[in-house]
Each structure stands twice: as structure tokens, then as C-alpha cells.
């Protein structure tokens, strides 16, 4: 059983999805789905222990083992191989953890926001999406990656459209996401095809060794492939300027869906970028062909400022948080563009930190939407007094976005600024910190309205959100505070992953 863990983590949610479609009864469906999610989380934690914490390694110096699994017993590179290293397992735990916490929150939230008849379909699509995302993280085969990418994408288009009960804009947002996402995925497919053409293999490790042996011969093809892949992944990742789908999709999807996607989907696309650039096409070749570091840095800096500024003017809080996500993805891309151990550590640790913070923030918004029925900033007047626990969670999440010490966001900012200063790029460091100030403006706008203004006369009285929704919210926000003070796990594993990606032996 233990040797099948890698594939079980994918198969269990995958099988559970059609099961949910068959069991139509709402309570049973949610029960099954939530159990499956937590079981998957348990499996990924077991994998984490095997990959990172075995062989006498401790919390301070995690190890860097690799767990492999051959699908159907066919050996690599002819068969499809699953390869779990420290980066994959780090992200596996994040995605399955957030998936489990958010789905535990879902029964009440979806009762408010999704048509009752569609709840079992919601669970099915949710499980499919999670299976797809986990599959991307686990697989060691490029085409398998594309297949899982499309599984997760298609189910996320369906999930977003479930928000149509609240607003018909969910449908157009889902459609726009579909068109842009498919173009992105097709670009990735083209890139994979071109790489396959010159190396003759789809296995990532095998392709990597073949490219490093005779990469120079195929320079032009690899260049074109890298170009297509970068554009495709940037689209999925919502890197400026290919982020147009994100604000609409996050704003009008149901709160559960937004929380899950915001915390996982874009992060997994970052993972794809990391794999492609650092594992498959080694950085020496990739950076030589395409000035990825400078290009990525420029785009991410512009993205941070444009997105943060756009967030300041939003009236819909979920839309504001969506623009905030685009800015935060900019921070992650900035860390990657620094292409040093510190830079990559900063980027990878921010994957975890931002997932917790944004997930928590969107769950808090879901609590507010549950009681108020709206997420417009004007309707949030005085909500700090009427829903203190929820709003305090939101405040802590907002402080995490700004990067106040003792939150996880501070840790990411610290490493990012440190990595920039290491390379003597102090203008970049300064710009990172100024980005925090823009975050301060849009976060504090909401805080002031929530705590300082009194509710409109005609507003109905609302009470605090139900406990079943508060607990998952506080789990994520509490985790962001915990990882703001105890970073041995997050930074330790992130550093290991960064070293492994850059091929630094330590």
C-alpha cells in the first residue's frame, strides 16, 4: 500500500468524483467528498515524511529524497513515471491541505451561493479539479502534465460558472477563462510537441539529460518551444499582462471556488514554470536562449504595481483581492527571476504563504457573503462590529498581505528583499517594499470602512458567521500566523527545493 501512495493520492479523488455524481443525495455527497479530501491530505503528509523527513533528518535540515512510481509497472522512459521530489511534495501538501480545509467550509457556503440541485456536481467538479492539480504536481511525464492540466482547467471552468446563481457575469467570466485558458494550454502543448520532436522522449528527467547533452544542436527549436511554453504558462499563472481572466473569474465564482482556485491553481502553474525552466530545460540553457530573468523581472514588477493600483479602485472586495493575487503572483515571479537560491527560496515559500493568506481572506469574504449576501465595499460598513471574529480574521490576512512581522507574508518579503540585495539590485528591493505600501492602502480602505463606519440604516441586522465556516477560515489564517513565526518547515523545505532546482549540492 505504501508504495502506491503517489498514485493513490491522485486516483482516490479521481474515482470519488464520478461517485459523487452517482450519489446524488447532498449530505452523503459532501460527506464523501470531505472525507476523501482529508484522506488525500493524509496521504500527501505521509509522502512528505518519506521525501523530506526520513533518514534521520530533522526539522531544521530536511532531506531531499525522490520517490518514484512507475504507472502500470512500465519502466521509464517508456512508461509514465511519477516523480516526487521536495518541490512536488511541498506543493502536494499545500494543494491537498487547502482543498480539504476549503471543502470542509463548503456545505454551508454553497447552500447560499450555488443552486441546491447542483451541489453534487459541485463536489464532483471540485474533486476532479483537485485530482488534476495533484496530478500535475506528481507526474514526471510532460504529456501527462498537459492532460492533468486540462483536467483541472476544465473542471475549474465549470466550477466558476456555478456562480451564475449570484450573478450572470460568472458565465461570461468562465467563458473568457475558458478561451484564454485553452489558448494557454494549447501553447503548452505546442511547446511539449516541439521538445518531443528534438529529444524523442516525454519523460522530464530523460529529456533533461538529452537536452543537456546535445542541447546546442537544437537551440532554435528549444528557443521556440521555450517561448510557447513560457507564454502558455504565464497565461495560466496570470502573470501580467496575461492576467485579464483572473479578476472576473475570482470575483464572480462562488466563494468556495474562489478560495480554492486562488490558493492553488495559479500556484500549480508556477510549479509548471519551475519544472520546465529548472528541471527540464536547465537554467543555463534556458536563460541563455531567452532572457527570462530580465523579462520576468520587468513583467513582474510592472504587474505588481499595476495590479496593486487597480486593486485600490475596486468596489467589489473579491475583485480587489483578485487583483491583489495578480500582484502577489508578481512577487513570486520576481523571486524566480532572481534565479538564485535565495530568490527561489523566497518564491517557493511565498507559494505556501500566499496560499494560506489568500485562501483565508477569500474564506472570510465567503463568511461575509453568507450573512450579508454581498461583497461590495459599501455594504461592508460597520461589519467589524457585527461580525467581529470574521473581520478580525480578514484583518490578520490583510496584515499578512502587507507583510507585517509575525505573519507569513513578512517572511516572504524578507527573503525576497534579501535575495534582491544579495545581487546588489537595491532598486528592485525598494520597489518590492513600495509594493507593500500600495497593499497597505487597499487593505486599510476595507479595514476603515468595516470598523469605523456605522451600518446603513436600512441594513438588516446580521450576526456572526456560523462556526462551521469560521473554523476553516481561522485554520488558514492561524496557519499564516504560525508560519510567520515558525519557519523551519516552510523555509527549510523551500530552501531544499530551491537548491535541488538549481542543482546546488549541499
Amino acid at each position: 500500500m505504501e508504495q502506491h501512495l503517489p498514485v493513490l493520492a491522485i486516483v482516490v479523488p479521481l474515482i470519488a468524483a464520478p461517485l459523487c455524481v452517482l450519489i446524488r443525495q447532498r449530505t452523503l455527497v459532501f460527506g464523501t467528498a470531505i472525507t476523501v479530501c482529508w484522506a488525500t491530505f493524509a496521504m500527501t503528509v505521509l509522502l512528505l515524511l518519506r521525501v523530506v523527513y526520513c533518514d534521520g533528518s530533522d526539522l531544521i535540515t530536511p532531506a531531499a529524497n525522490v520517490v518514484t512510481y512507475q504507472m502500470g509497472g512500465w519502466l521509464a522512459p517508456w512508461g509514465i513515471e511519477y516523480r516526487i521530489d521536495s518541490l512536488s511534495v511541498f506543493m502536494l501538501v499545500i494543494v491537498s491541505g487547502i482543498g480539504a480545509v476549503v471543502l470542509s467550509y463548503a456545505p454551508l457556503s454553497s447552500a447560499r451561493e450555488i443552486h441546491r440541485e447542483q451541489h453534487y456536481l459541485f463536489c464532483a467538479a471540485y474533486l476532479l479539479c483537485m485530482a488534476g492539480l495533484l496530478g500535475i504536481l506528481v507526474t514526471g511525464d510532460l504529456f501527462n502534465l498537459f492532460v492533468f492540466l486540462e483536467i483541472s482547467s476544465l473542471s475549474s471552468y465549470a466550477l466558476i460558472s456555478l456562480g451564475a446563481r449570484q450573478s450572470r457575469k460568472a458565465l461570461t467570466a468562465a467563458f473568457q477563462y475558458l478561451v484564454m485558458g485553452t489558448i494557454g494550454a494549447t501553447f503548452i502543448l505546442i511547446g511539449i510537441g516541439l521538445l518531443y520532436q528534438v529529444t524523442g522522449t516525454l519523460n522530464m528527467a530523460d529529456m533533461s539529460s538529452r537536452l543537456s547533452e546535445n542541447g546546442e544542436v537544437f537551440n532554435k527549436v528549444v528557443l521556440v518551444a521555450l517561448a510557447f511554453l513560457t507564454v502558455g504558462v504565464s497565461l495560466k499563472m496570470a502573470l501580467f499582462p496575461l492576467h485579464a481572466w483572473l479578476p472576473g473569474a475570482y470575483a464572480y465564482a462562488p466563494s468556495v471556488v474562489t478560495a480554492f482556485l486562488a490558493a492553488t491553481a495559479t500556484k500549480v502553474s508556477v510549479y509548471i514554470l519551475l519544472r520546465l525552466v529548472f528541471t527540464v530545460i536547465r537554467p543555463e540553457l534556458a536563460l541563455q536562449l531567452v532572457p527570462l530573468d530580465k523579462g520576468l523581472m520587468l513583467l513582474s514588477l510592472i504587474g505588481i504595481f499595476v495590479a496593486s493600483t487597480a486593486a485600490i479602485y475596486q468596489k467589489n472586495i473579491k475583485r480587489m483581492l483578485a487583483y491583489s493575487s495578480v500582484a502577489q503572483i508578481g512577487y513570486i515571479a520576481l523571486g524566480i527571476s532572481l534565479a538564485s537560491v535565495s530568490g527561489l527560496t523566497a518564491a517557493i515559500v511565498h507559494l505556501l504563504n500566499h496560499a494560506m493568506i489568500k485562501g483565508g481572506l477569500f474564506l472570510a469574504m465567503g463568511c461575509i457573503a453568507y450573512r450579508l449576501g454581498s461583497v461590495e465595499i459599501d455594504d461592508l460598513r460597520g461589519i467589524g462590529r457585527r461580525m467581529p471574529v470574521t473581520m478580525f480574521a480578514w484583518l490578520l490576512g490583510g496584515l499578512g498581505l502587507i507583510g507585517v512581522p509575525t505573519t507569513a507574508g513578512f517572511i516572504s518579503k524578507w527573503y525576497l528583499v534579501s535575495a534582491a540585495l544579495e545581487k546588489d539590485w537595491w532598486p528592485v528591493a525598494g520597489l518590492i517594499l513600495i509594493g507593500s505600501l500600495l497593499t497597505l492602502i487597499y487593505v486599510w480602505r476595507v479595514v476603515e470602512i468595516a470598523y469605523f463606519q456605522s451600518p446603513v440604516e436600512s441594513a438588516e441586522p446580521v450576526t456572526e458567521a456560523p462556526l462551521a465556516m469560521l473554523v476553516p477560515t481561522w485554520i488558514l489564517i492561524g496557519a499564516s500566523l504560525f508560519f510567520g513565526l515558525q519557519t523551519s518547515f516552510s523555509v527549510g523545505v523551500a530552501r531544499r527545493a530551491a537548491e535541488m532546482l538549481l542543482g546546488v549540492v549541499s
Binding site: 507585517v404 512581522p405 528583499v417 534579501s418 528591493a429 497597505l440
Partner: protein, 487 residues
């Protein structure tokens, strides 16, 4: 009880006070009693550590490591010990005052007030005892955030606007400048520990060090160095106990304390003095001293006048730090104590006057000495301490500052100090004079005495007399500070 436990207890006590204030929100007497007990206990705990530290011990404890190489750790040295003593002592006095003020004024949200106060003191004590810049930065930010609800206590539109300026300037400077400086120092020196003699010797070029010092100076917005001083007058929308303790003692003193620590233990006085890096800072501090005093002259609102006076007095301490010689350091450090007692007395009196007569403007205070003689007399004592006349503590700190300026060859700054003293007289003495010697604008010429609430009176008398007591304790203070100043 070992020193480790004592330090942890010192940190835990204000937090416990905050928690109990929250728990017993509906039972005012219980929560106030708990806060008083906690404050008293904190004073006892901190005082117990003092003799050891002043005779050369450096007790410390490391709590845990946040990032590799960066941990939350505490270590006591004379300067921090001094600050901790002031903070603990004045917390007790201010709690006493707050009880009188908040109840007389029938303020809302008193539980939130005492709870946030507890957290703010926790942050101040934590900052006082920090062993490295990382810990200090964390507590610095916690202080900013925990004082925001205190500044915006009244919840009015004016409070919100004041809070915005307060938070905006403090967070802006701390994120854009101070955090930058801290991470840069970390990159250059590989450590953030406070070490006598500094950690930046030979780590960077002079230009880099100059920029770094500038970032630290402007980044420490709480030190109210111009042009980042506007938060101080803006924070005057807060209830007077808040203005008194936090903006005369805790918040601003954490700011100048940070500057002092940076000068002493990050850069090292030798490095600064030998390369003359801190000369621009001296001029900046001198400019702030003068400009703030001039602005104070124009302010009619009593609290605003006192706020600008504080801006000016803080730059005395920054000047002392920038002079980077033994006398300057001693003068600046002593002024942390002297100014704390002097200013808190003035604020207590301003609050007492407001709560009794609802008067806020200086022009309204004619004849106040006849209705509130004790308060006005205490105000006089506080004024004399701030101006720097014997037998008040403020005299000695100004003396050492002038000595430091002269020793460093900057006669200009001696002149600045003198002019500033004159300006102090100009904007503070008239208040007392008009209070005692002019009859009230309306009502009988010899009105009945209508003093402030008892708890308020008690508090302001203690601090006023404290200013005198410090005059005689100054010698001890110098002895205690010499070891660190002469490194």
C-alpha cells in the same frame, strides 16, 4: 527566580493584563484592579533585574528562531534597562491616571483601551529588552499596530483621519526605510545582533554606510525626525492617557531608543565618529529641534503645542546619538528619562484640565491656576523640567548634550540647544503665568477650587515630583551609562 524567567515574566505581565482586561470587559473594577496589579508587578520584576544589569551583568534569553540566523532573543543592557524601568514605572502611574480620566469622562470601549494598552506596553518592554535588530523591528511594528486602536479610540471621523496619518506615516517609514535598512544590514554583516562597537566595521563603503544610517534615521518614524513627524500631532486625537503614556513616553521613546541602539550597537560610535557619517543627522536633528519649537509657538491647542514640543525634544536625543561621543550618548539617554517624566506631567495636566473644565486651547486657560492650583503647579514643575532648569532632571540631560556638542567641536549645536531652551520658555511659561497671574475670562475673580479627579491628581503629582527626584539620581544614571557610552 532566574533571570531568564524574570525576563519572560516581564514580557508576560502586560500581555496578561491585556487578556484580563478583555475577559472582564463588563466588570470595570476587576479589570482595572488586575491592570494595576500587573503594572505593579511589572515594576517590581523590572526593578529586580536592574541592579544586576547596572553592575555589568547581561542577562538574556532566546525564545525561538524565526528564520535561520534570526531569532527572537532578549538581552538586557543599561540603556534598555533604563527604558524598561521608565516604561514599567510610568505604566503604573498612567493606569492610575487613566482610571480617573476614563471614568470621569465616561468613555466608551474602556476594556478595549486597557487591553490595547497592555499589548502596547508588552511591545515597549519587548523592544527595550531586544537582543537583536530583528526582535526590535518586530516589537516596533507590534507597537504601531497595537496603538492604532488607541489613537482612533473615539471612532469619530477626526479620529479616523488622525489614525490614517498615524498609521500611514509610521508604516510607510518602517516598511520603505527601516525594513530595507534591516535587511541590508543583515546582508552586509551576516548578523543582526546588537554588539558593543557595532557590527558594520569594515563591511561596506562609507557611502553605503551613510545611506544606511539615513534609512535607519528616517525609517524610525517614531523618533519623529522631520519630515516624518506629522503623525505625532495627528495622534493627539487620542484620549489624553494615550497621548501621555504612548506619545510622551512609550511610542516616541521606542523610536529614539531604536536610534540610540542603532548608533551604539549596529554602527558603533567609533565608526560613526571616525568617519563623520552622522554629521548630516546632527544637522537634521538640530533643524527639527528649532523648527518644531517654532511651530509649537503658533499652536493654540494645548495638546498640539505639547506634541510639537515632543517632536523638538525627541530630536535632542537623536542629536545626542548623532554626536556619537560619550557625553552625547549619556545626555541623549538621560533625556529619555528626563523628558519622559517632564512631558508626561504636562500631558497629564492637559488631560486633567480637559476632563474638569472641557478646555483645550491655551487661550482659554486664563486663571486656571485659581480653580486647579495643584494641577497648574504640577504643570509648572513639568515645564521647568522640559526647559532644563535645576533642580529638575532636564537640566542634567541638556548639560551633557551641550558638553557632547562642545566636545565634538560643534559649537553651533550648543547654540541650538540654548535657543531651543529659550523657545521652550516662550511656549510653555506663558501658560503657567497666565494660569496663576491672570484672572479667569469669565466668572468670579477668585473662583472656587475645582480640581481634577483624585486618581488623575495622584498621577500627575507623582510624575512632577519624579522630575525633581531624577535631578538627584542623575549622577547614578551617568555612572550606569558610562560603560556603554565609552565604547
Amino acid at each position: 527566580m532566574t533571570d531568564e524567567i524574570t525576563i519572560k515574566l516581564a514580557l508576560a505581565l502586560p500581555l496578561m493584563a491585556a487578556v484580563t482586561a478583555g475577559l472582564f470587559a463588563r466588570r470595570p473594577n476587576v479589570r482595572e484592579l488586575f491592570t494595576l496589579i500587573a503594572a505593579g508587578a511589572l515594576l517590581v520584576v523590572v526593578t529586580s533585574l536592574a541592579p544586576g544589569v547596572f553592575s555589568g551583568d547581561r542577562p538574556g534569553v532566546t525564545l525561538f528562531s524565526v528564520m535561520p540566523g534570526l531569532s527572537i532573543a532578549f538581552e538586557l543592557e543599561p540603556l534598555g534597562m533604563l527604558f524598561a524601568l521608565i516604561a514599567a514605572g510610568l505604566w503604573l502611574v498612567t493606569t492610575c491616571y487613566s482610571i480617573g480620566y476614563m471614568r470621569a469622562h465616561n468613555e466608551d470601549h474602556q476594556a478595549r483601551f486597557y487591553a490595547c494598552f497592555g499589548v502596547a506596553i508588552f511591545a515597549a518592554i519587548g523592544a527595550a529588552m531586544s537582543q537583536n535588530m530583528f526582535t526590535l523591528f518586530i516589537f516596533y511594528e507590534v507597537l504601531t499596530l497595537s496603538t492604532y486602536p488607541l489613537v482612533t479610540h473615539h471612532g469619530t471621523e477626526a479620529a479616523r483621519k488622525g489614525g490614517r496619518v498615524y498609521l500611514g506615516i509610521l508604516l510607510f517609514t518602517s516598511i520603505a526605510f527601516l525594513l530595507f535598512a534591516v535587511v541590508w544590514t543583515w546582508n552586509l554583516a551576516g548578523t543582526l545582533d546588537f554588539k558593543p562597537g557595532g557590527i558594520l566595521q569594515g563591511k561596506a563603503s562609507d557611502g553605503v554606510l551613510l545611506v544606511l544610517l539615513g534609512l535607519y534615521a528616517f525609517g524610525t518614524g517614531k523618533a519623529a525626525l522631520m519630515p516624518f513627524h506629522r503623525w505625532l500631532p495627528a495622534a493627539m486625537v487620542a484620549p489624553t492617557p494615550v497621548s501621555a503614556l504612548l506619545h510622551a513616553v512609550a511610542v516616541v521613546k521606542v523610536g529614539v531608543f531604536t536610534v540610540m541602539k542603532v548608533v551604539l550597537y549596529i554602527f558603533g560610535t567609533d565608526l560613526l565618529a571616525s568617519k563623520g557619517l552622522s554629521v548630516p543627522l546632527m544637522y537634521l536633528a538640530a533643524a527639527t529641534i528649532l523648527i518644531a519649537s517654532l511651530v509649537a509657538l503658533t499652536k493654540d491647542n494645548l495638546k498640539a503645542r505639547l506634541a510639537y514640543s515632543t517632536v523638538s525634544q525627541l530630536s535632542y536625543i537623536v542629536l545626542g546619538a548623532a554626536l556619537a561621543n560619550a557625553s552625547g550618548i549619556i545626555g541623549g539617554s538621560m533625556h529619555i528619562a528626563m523628558h519622559a517624566f517632564g512631558k508626561i506631567t504636562l500631558f497629564f495636566c492637559a488631560g486633567a484640565i480637559y476632563v474638569t473644565t472641557h478646555k483645550t486651547e491655551v487661550s482659554q486657560l486664563r486663571g486656571i491656576g485659581r480653580t486647579m492650583p495643584i494641577t497648574t503647579f504640577a504643570f509648572l514643575l513639568g515645564t521647568l523640567s522640559v526647559i532644563g532648569l535645576p533642580p529638575f532632571g532636564g537640566f542634567w540631560s541638556k548639560w551633557y548634550l551641550a558638553l557632547g556638542a562642545a566636545e565634538a567641536g560643534h559649537g553651533l549645536f550648543v547654540a541650538v540647544l540654548m535657543i531651543s531652551s529659550l523657545l521652550n520658555i516662550a511656549y510653555l511659561m506663558p501658560i503657567v503665568a497666565r494660569g496663576f497671574f491672570l484672572p479667569p475670562a469669565e466668572g468670579p475673580e477668585r473662583p472656587a477650587i475645582n480640581e481634577a479627579p483624585l486618581f488623575c491628581l495622584l498621577a500627575l503629582c507623582i510624575t512632577a515630583i519624579g522630575g525633581v527626584v531624577l535631578f538627584f539620581l542623575a549622577d547614578k544614571m551617568v555612572q550606569v551609562l558610562i560603560p556603554i557610552a565609552q565604547n
